[in-house]
């Protein structure tokens, strides 16, 4: 078979018309004036097949031959060399469909299986120094916004600290990062949250909102539950894992496709935190029952908190699935159920 094409001498961009004679016994004869050279298929290098990009031949001296009729050359080559399996997978419809299905399954497995498990394992093993540094930084950040020291009367503060000490179960008292209570005055915010180093922040307004000690105990235990499960750390490890994975898999974290992926992982993160709230609630319920405290008060402060959140104008316009503390009604229902048991 004779294939017309262009020959390029090694190291030069110029090209000239040439011919390649292909034999059935794997011999190639290059007729590129002024010389005629004979090669065996073993000597030459054919470019990797990729899509419909035309193949070309590179000779041992670096010269190149580009066939004008790519399909004829392909046909000849296929009789002697099978293209790689990756190429075959890419060029068959069934292979592509299978690939699509497998990819979807694996991505789902990563998001719902690998990611939660790994972040939990890593979060439980983060060294104490790192936890403490993180907590200190968050606190400094909070102080830089409008978080102030508590304005509650001294006796009340001492009473709250005493309640906190009584509540702390032995398991958390002997934790490598013990929990401690920090009362703060946050304008217009009735809230409580747990930092990575076990610092529980309780806002003055939440204390004012509370119907009694048992309600505050419920809130404190809920936050302690977050610490026992290392939830703040898990969230952090998880988002780092997501960005590291994207970086490792794609080489960069920009572009529309990746933004989409990140949005998907954000939505998933919110679902994740919904699960965490439930976990912390269950932990608190067990502790409350052991201390013989009233779960009704815990449900009541949740009710008041969600009414308070309804009053905050901005929240009204956020859809339920976008909120990190969603489904308050179902959480309250859950607590009441536990009380009845």
């Amino acid at each position: 078979m004779i294939i017309e094409g262009f020959y390029q001498p090694a190291g030069r961009a110029a090209r000239e018309a040439a011919r390649l004679f292909l034999d059935d016994d794997q011999r190639l004869t290059l007729d590129a004036p002024p010389a005629i050279q004979v090669f065996s298929l073993r000597d030459i290098e054919v470019s990797d097949a990729l899509g419909s990009i035309p193949l070309f031949v590179t000779f041992p001296d670096g010269g190149r031959f580009v066939p004008a009729d790519d399909s004829a050359f392909r046909r000849w080559l296929r009789q002697h060399r099978r293209p790689g399996w990756i190429y075959r997978m890419e060029s068959h419809k069934r292979g592509v469909l299978l690939t699509l299905a497998a990819t979807c399954v694996l991505v789902a497995f990563y998001i719902w299986g690998v990611l939660p498990w790994t972040s939990n394992v890593i979060a439980q093993r983060i060294p104490t120094t790192i936890e403490q540094n993180l907590g200190r930084h968050t606190l400094a950040l909070l102080r830089a916004s409008d978080f102030r020291d508590s304005a509650l009367p001294e006796e009340k503060q001492i009473a709250l600290q005493r309640l906190f000490q009584q509540l702390t179960p032995p398991s958390l008292r002997h934790d490598r990062t013990p929990v401690r209570l920090k009362l703060m005055n946050i304008p217009d915010l009735a809230n409580a949250f747990m930092l990575a180093d076990g610092t529980l922040i309780l806002s003055d307004k939440l204390v004012a909102l509370s119907p009694g000690d048992d309600a505050l105990a419920g809130v404190m235990l809920h936050e302690m539950g977050h610490h026992a499960y290392r939830h703040p750390m898990r969230m952090l490890v998880r988002s780092s894992l997501v960005s590291l994975t994207l970086l490792w898999m794609t080489g960069d974290v920009s572009g529309i496709g990746d933004t989409l992926l990140q949005t998907a992982s954000l939505a998933n993160e919110l679902q994740f935190s919904r699960g965490m709230e439930r976990e912390a609630d269950d932990w608190a319920i067990v502790e409350m029952k052991r201390e013989g405290r009233s779960l009704a008060q815990m449900a009541e402060i949740y009710r008041r908190l969600s009414a308070e959140a309804q009053n905050e104008k901005a929240n009204k316009y956020l859809p339920d699935w976008l909120s990190t503390h969603p489904a308050m009604a179902s959480r309250i229902e859950h607590i009441m159920e536990a009380e009845r048991e």
Binding site: G95, W248, G251, L260
Partner: protein, 396 residues
């Protein structure tokens, strides 16, 4: 004989032969193998992706090619990821040291960027002859750091001085005059600084590139870049005005209500809700404005830079992009990606590559008899990976 004649006046249209469906298959197999191999295959995937786009780009019957070795890319990626993990850990234990490392990294950036340009140039070939990039490190630092900083200082020190003097004088008219001076000086000032930096960066990129042993050269006028920057700002003004007008009615009613003492929390909430639509509209107007201006600038700069670019004595480039069609491409591509939940990303990539090729041509004698290969080698892909990882494309 006109001066143009040694260009032989042959116009060679650039063609892109890639197909959305075909690339989709390649992209998908890349994704699956990357997942199965826990990311190791991503280096091979990167090479296949680049080869697909370069190998499907044709000028006068010949294709481009990409030669990077996946192993090099894998090593580069490992180093970058390792560095990031070490940095995370340090940042958690010793924040001060982490800051120091971040600063050192920042100081190395220009060097990293030119190394990656060099790597990519040497890995790309046309007709078997590789491209090349040579740049003095000092020049990169001057273009990317020193000169921009000096220009900023030259712009902001006088403006700050004017404001300070006006404040010292403490008279209303002095402050008013200073505000007018600042506004009038700021727009052309910002345009000038932007334009000069953009001109210098493109100069640094183009004028150090080679095809084989043949240099690229482009005479880039700073005044042209300043003109584009100025036009971009002027183009953005109507969008800004409309956005302000949309929000303005809300602010004036709000002001009047407060003045009449009729403002309550509930009232504010109700007003916010009733004005939610105009707020959203203002936001949309600003986004559309930013998109229009950005594509105007991309198109104007690319056309100008490419039309000024010569390769050796006999070849020059042509670019004829249009803002409207480019904007249309960006818009339809965004829709395609969003509504396919990202699955049609490869189709969008192919459409973009085809559009760019269709608007690009090469003029001149492509027998290229005097272009010879160079003998430079690029051995590590670390710089290239750093640039990829931190998205430091410097807007080329």
């Amino acid at each position: 004989m006109s001066d143009n004649n040694h260009y032989n006046d042959n116009l060679h249209q650039v063609r892109f032969h890639g197909k959305g469906g075909e690339y989709f298959a390649i992209w998908l197999v890349n994704a699956l193998l990357t997942i199965i191999t826990l990311g190791i295959y991503s280096a091979w995937a990167t090479v296949r992706r680049r080869r697909y786009f370069l190998g499907n780009t044709e000028i006068n019957g010949d294709r481009f090619d990409y030669h990077a070795k996946p192993i090099q890319i894998l090593k580069g990626r490992l180093l970058v990821i390792g560095g990031i993990i070490v940095f995370y850990i340090l940042a958690a234990i010793l924040p001060q040291l982490a800051l120091l490392i971040a600063l050192a990294f920042l100081a190395l950036l220009p060097w990293v960027v030119i190394r990656s340009w060099r790597y990519n140039a040497i890995m790309t070939s046309f007709r078997g002859v590789r491209f090349n990039y040579h740049c003095k490190v000092g020049r990169a630092y001057w273009t990317m750091y020193l000169c921009p900083i000096l220009l900023m200082l030259a712009l902001y020190i006088p403006i700050t001085a004017v404001v300070l003097i006006a404040v010292q004088m403490a008279s209303i008219s002095a402050i008013l005059i200073s505000v007018i001076i600042v506004v009038v000086a700021l727009v052309p000032g910002v345009a000038a600084v932007q334009g000069i930096i953009s001109a210098m960066t493109h100069d640094l990129y183009i004028n150090n590139h080679f095809f084989g042993n043949t240099a690229f050269r482009a005479e880039l006028k700073k005044s042209t870049f300043i003109k584009y920057s100025l036009l971009a700002i002027v183009l953005f003004l109507p969008f800004l005005i409309v956005a302000f007008w949309l929000m303005g009615s809300f602010f004036t009613t709000m002001y009047q209500m407060v003045a009449m003492g009729a403002m309550s929390d509930d009232m504010a909430g109700a007003m916010l809700l009733s004005n939610l639509f105009s707020f959203l509209m203002a936001f949309v107007v600003l986004i559309v404005g930013a998109l229009v201006v950005a594509s105007y600038q991309v198109v104007a700069v690319r056309n100008y830079v490419l039309n000024q670019t010569h390769i050796g004595e006999r070849v020059k480039l042509r670019s004829s992009m249009k803002t409207a069609s480019y904007l249309g491409l960006l818009f339809t591509n965004a829709l395609i990606v969003v509504f396919s939940l990202g699955l049609a990303t490869p189709v969008a990539h192919v459409r973009a590559a085809r559009y760019m090729a269709e608007r690009t041509a090469v003029v001149g004698d492509l027998s290229l008899p005097d272009v010879n290969a160079h003998h430079d080698a690029a051995n590590t892909a670390v710089a290239e990976e750093v640039v990829q990882a931190f998205d430091l494309g410097i807007g080329m």
